[in-house]
């Protein structure tokens, strides 16, 4: 047991070990971001569709399902954030004296700002959870509706109320722009870290990453814009 533990802590202490964990948790979070967006797009199907979906998530496995997902995601976020902060600190320490002139030849803006886009997304996640999950400083808990003869939480009304306040919507859109920037590098990057990219698949992973980032940006922002423009009401 302790021999295993020793090896695992050596793995975590190493640069590649931490990066592999960042890649694996990144992969989990990619899946979550996609699922979360698809679920939320149900708002365009109608009030009952999204409320039914929300109710299903809440009652899955007698209410345990949502907690299993939450704990898994929390673990992934903690590992992803802690490891990347440690890696970034080590990276800064590895070059203390700055160049008088340093030119990036091939790398893009998104790849140079991962820590900042990431930390902003972290702040956004906390805000988003307080806003729609914990429902702090609002009365969304009292929003109820009747679905198939059962009283359930009115997700539909909550989303409309939530995005009717401009500062919140603007923060959502900014966060989505940064998320798509983060994804545009992170997506293809994780295949390199996991050791599966090849000369033939790398261009494909790159394009898929841009497409994925664009999809998440358009999909999530469409909900905010639809509420703003009164298309969903």
């Amino acid at each position: 047991m302790s021999a295993v533990f020793d090896s695992l802590s050596r793995f975590y202490a190493s640069s590649i070990g931490k990066k592999i964990l960042v890649a694996l948790t990144g992969l989990m979070l990619l899946g979550f971001v996609l699922g979360h967006m698809i679920g939320n797009l149900l708002i365009f199907v109608g009030k009952d569709a999204i409320n039914e979906y929300g109710h299903m998530l809440q009652t899955m496995l007698h209410g345990g399902g949502v907690w299993i997902a939450r704990i898994g995601l929390l673990g992934a976020v903690v590992v992803h954030v802690v490891a990347t902060i440690q890696l970034t600190q080590a990276n800064r320490a590895a070059r203390k004296d700055a160049y008088g002139m340093h030119k990036a030849q091939v790398s893009g803006k998104a790849s140079h700002t991962m820590i900042w886009s990431g930390l902003t997304i972290l702040a956004f996640i906390i805000y988003h959870l307080l806003h729609f999950t914990v429902r702090k400083n609002n009365d969304y808990d009292t929003y109820k509706t009747v679905l198939h003869g059962e009283t359930v939480h009115d997700v539909y009304r909550m989303v409309i109320a939530g995005f009717s306040w401009a500062p919140a919507s603007i923060f959502y859109i900014i966060a989505m722009v940064l998320l798509s920037s983060h994804l545009s590098h992170g997506f293809s990057s994780l295949f390199q870290t996991l050791g599966v990219a090849t000369d033939k698949t790398e261009p494909l992973f790159k394009k898929l990453g841009y497409a994925f980032a664009g999809l998440i940006l358009v999909g999530n922002c469409s909900i905010v814009l639809a509420v703003w423009l009164g298309y969903v009401r």
Binding site: V4, I20, A90, A93, T193, G195
Partner: protein, 262 residues
């Protein structure tokens, strides 16, 4: 032959002390001179004026030893692709240009003087596993060990690494992954390298981390700067080899020390 009048900003530093850029005028530089020959001309002039010449590393001056380390206008070995500083010619510049000349900067490459840095960290990484152990005795027939042409060619590509450190210099994190992956991958690919593959991979990565190099963020600046065009696919392979070796290390059987002998 035409001549160039250049303005240089050259880094001057003594080990352990803070450094600074010195403005050096470089008039009448023949355009057929190499970058190092230009530095020689400047040093002659500095010496003639009774000033301290600029210290820089060089050896073969034909692109094979990896000694000539200079960050030229923000890029290791200067603007020419797949070219070492010694093979860079002044005709690639224009008269009137300002050229920044700095050492390769990394915590793991401390400055010895001016443009000369200590790249001993690379040697220590090599000593941590970048070799195959060869037993003494009669060698076997060369053709007793069949190696596919593709494999031999790929290993040869990795073996082209001259250990110059440009990959570290180009990386915003001063990561040595391209160098380490080329040195480990070249042997991990060949049958001769198999017996020590996991030990090599774990050992070299551990030494790389210990030397204080940064972590790769998959931006591939190293590949763009490498004078030998080492591919970042070697880094992919190192990541893969490391994952496999770490899993075996964590969950595999423990090695029993061989008994007997003396």
């Amino acid at each position: 032959m035409s001549q160039l009048n250049l303005h240089l900003k050259v880094w001057r530093q003594n080990a352990g002390q803070p450094g600074h850029f010195q403005d050096i005028e470089a008039p009448e530089i023949p355009d057929h001179a190499s970058f190092l020959e230009m530095m020689d001309i400047i040093n002659e002039r500095l010496i003639a004026k009774g000033q301290e010449p600029v210290a820089f590393d060089h050896d073969c001056r034909e692109g094979i030893c990896g000694m000539c380390s200079m960050q030229i206008n923000g890029v290791p070995h200067g603007p020419e692709k797949a070219t070492t500083t010694c093979q860079l010619h002044m005709r690639k510049f224009r008269t009137g240009d300002t050229i920044w000349v700095e050492p390769f900067r990394a915590k793991a490459f401390p400055v010895i003087k001016d443009l000369v840095v200590n790249r001993g960290a690379f040697d220590r990484i090599q000593q941590a596993g970048g070799f195959v152990t060869v037993r003494t005795g009669a060698p076997q027939d060369a053709n007793a060990l069949p190696i596919g042409k593709e494999v031999a060619d790929a290993a040869m590509d990795a073996a082209a690494c001259i250990g110059c450190g440009a990959c570290v210099a180009a990386c915003k994190n001063a990561s040595a992954m391209l160098f380490v992956s080329a040195k480990a991958g070249q042997l991990n690919l060949l049958p001769q390298g198999q017996p020590e593959k996991d030990r090599r991979t774990l050992g070299m990565v551990r030494q790389m981390d210990k030397e204080g190099f940064g972590n790769c963020t998959n931006q591939y600046e190293c590949e763009a700067a490498c004078p030998k065009e080492i591919s970042v696919r070697w880094i992919t392979k190192l990541n893969r080899d490391y994952a496999v070796a770490a899993v075996k290390d964590a969950f595999g059987n423990t090695r029993k020390e061989a008994g007997g002998g003396d």
